[in-house]
């Protein structure tokens, strides 16, 4: 085999390999990117149906309720403008508390309830998850504009 042919084959293999990797990445992105919405956006119907996404905000005071099975929890996530009911079955993270920031991942289920598959809170008590802070900030900006 001539070295020119060899070079061509090598380039061909390289391009094919790169193509496979790009395809893998794009495919994985398509399925696994999780978008973030604020409770106000969810209330306005901007969030996708049937696809997982994240919402963030504060756990509304005195909104946490446990069902009789002990593991199903219902609470409201608020950005101070709108509140979205969330249901989650499982053990909550240590730092989950009323009045604290929270981010939940899941889908909109029947009756507009957000069925969370995962609830995240931060590792540091006095730190709000950036997504939650963002949601509250957005809502307050919106309220400020409305008040004008």
């Amino acid at each position: 085999m001539k070295s020119r042919h060899k070079k061509l084959i090598a380039i061909g293999l390289g391009v094919a390999g790169l193509g496979i990797i790009v395809a893998l990445v794009l495919n994985a992105f398509q399925d696994n990117l999780v978008f973030f919405y604020t409770p106000t956006q969810v209330a306005a119907g901007e969030a996708p149906e049937g696809r997982a996404f994240r919402i963030g905000g504060l756990v509304e005071m005195e909104s946490v309720r446990r069902e009789a099975d002990g593991l199903t929890v219902r609470f409201l996530v608020t950005d101070t403008a709108q509140s979205i009911p969330v249901v989650y079955k499982g053990i909550l993270p240590d730092l989950f508390k009323e009045g604290k920031g929270v981010v939940a991942e899941g889908k909109i289920a029947d009756g507009g309830v957000f069925a969370a598959t995962q609830v995240l809170a931060k590792h540091d008590e006095n730190y709000m998850p950036p997504e939650a802070a963002h949601a509250v900030e957005q809502a307050q900006k919106a309220q400020a504009t409305l008040a004008k």
């Binding site: 070295s3 060899k6 390289g14 390999g17 790169l18 990797i21 893998l24 990445v25 495919n27 994985a28 992105f29 399925d31 696994n32 990117l33 999780v34 978008f35 973030f36 994240r54 446990r66 099975d69 002990g70 593991l71 079955k89 499982g90 053990i91 909550l92 240590d94 730092l95 991942e105 931060k122 590792h123 540091d124 008590e125 998850p129 950036p130 997504e131 963002h134």
Partner: protein, 654 residues
Amino acid sequence: MIPELGHFVLIIALVLAIIQGTLPLIGAHRGNVALMALARPTAQGQFVFIAIAFGCLAWSFLVNDFSVENVARNSFSQLPEVYRITATWGSHEGSLLLWVLMLAFWTMAVSVFSRHLPDDMVARVIGVMGLISVGFLAFLLLTSNPFDRLLPPAPDGRDMNPLLQDWGMIIHPPMLYMGYVGFAVAFAFAIAALISGKLDAAWARWSRPWTTVAWAFLTLGIALGSWWAYRELGWGGWWFWDPTENASFMPWLAGTALIHSLAVTEKRGAFKAWTVLLALTAFSLSLLGTFLVRSGVLSSVHAFATDPTRGAFILGFLAVVIGGSLVLFAWRAPKMLTGGSFNWFSREAMLLANNVILLAAMGSVLLGTLYPLFMDALGLGKISVGPPYFNAVFVPVMAPALFLMGIGPLARWRDASLPDLFTRLKWALAVAVATGLLLPLTLDGFNPWATLGFALAAWILLTVLIGFRERMRNGARLASLPRAFWGMQMAHMGLALGVAGITLVANYEQERDVRMNIGDHTTLAGYTFTFKGTTERPGPNYRAARGTIEVSKGGKTLYVLHPEKRIYNASGMAMTEAAVRYSLTSDLYVALGEPLDETAKAWAVRVYHKPFINWLWIGALFLVVGGFLAASDRRYRIAVKKLEAPAGAAAQGA
């Protein structure tokens, strides 16, 4: 006074670093022996002063000097002594001080173990490391002084983050930083070679042991971090693809590529430009990791400070160091002539493929980690890229690399033939495929992922054994095989163990969340877990509800586990302390969720059965030991001695 002393010696260290980063480089350029000779003493002096500064900070923590802001923020009078010392590097400022201490340590090691290297090379390497040190010391002194005073002093500290109060966290950061910073040596060697234009096999031989040792430390650091996450986060996971984890994993992937590519450059003189680029990349990714964690541009479970000035400083530094080195690379690249030719199935080709795959994997991790930042910067919305993305891309990309790993060490340099390789490996291939297909059937029915994992693990293990057998057939005795060979084979075997462990735990673990009242029981993987209630137990700086859970099989009580829910006194933070029964074949993992009634009789409890998870850490240990073995090969010492005379003469002639 002690904190002021610490501050003062840090300034002295900075002055020494400035001398170390300039005069020896000028000396090497002009051939001035006196200036070059400054490299070693300044590097050693710098280490001494930074060590004193570190000691001062550790002392302030140990004696609870809450007039130091850093201590007040990160320690607590009730904190046990050992954690008070480790709190020294638990904060942003302290961990940066540890970073420069490690850098100074590596530089000193270079200054001591480089007697046989030409003077101009030593001067350049130490000079470049001095420049890096200048950047970090300036960052420390200007934006993150660990010795800042707090007036009036706080009556007590805010306590260390409870999650960090674990012995895994005591040694994880130092090991990780040893690895991160160790790549600075490979980087400095590459820059020195680029400046002098002498990129030859000798250069590769000098950097090889340093790179391998740094890589082994990084491996150990990552493994400890993962083990810590497994035990402390209470979720039984061992890898989360969290940005902070990725920040340490990317340099590891680049470093792995680098140690393999250095082998080719040393033995065959090929891939020079590529190897240099990898040396620059590995350290650049270490710096990038530091930037990502310290600047808060990415939200992460354990990002430290979110302070734009600090971020801007590191970014500027990053741009200068990496940008500068890449400009130097582009300028000098045409001078690098590539060595001998090789054919498709030669060891060179296998290693090249391994390099390309490792870098592609690194790229996919980098993309996933930074994608949320790109989207946000372009105003396209806030997103997160979760573990499913990384698993979906990383596993298929890495699988071919693991397959090639079996062939590479058995292929000849330069010229290898496929039929020959096939004859030598056909049995291993057949057994590996059979293992992959049959093993899942005996466990839980056919499962393509399990098949892939088992087949690859068996394949690597078998090819390692073939490697030993072929050597012995050629008359070698096990004990007389070179350490480099042992090291490589151990590391590869470690990877096989790790792959087996990951396959088993990812496909066959079982978990259950249950509400448990006193006397309730639940069954998982054949074990019965019975909840015996909780008792109050005070700790040194926390109060704990301590659960008692009996594990039995066939009516016989095997173990009693005590998971805890702790409330830390200073921060009021709650923490889950899981109880784990470790064994070689499976872990039983129990964590308390939260009390479900007022009297705290019933609790949410999470139980896991994790088969073979410990193989992961054992595999990682094999990698580490393999790395140290390979780096200690006598070849490096002998080869260095042989080179001494001509290289020394060349330096004098320059």
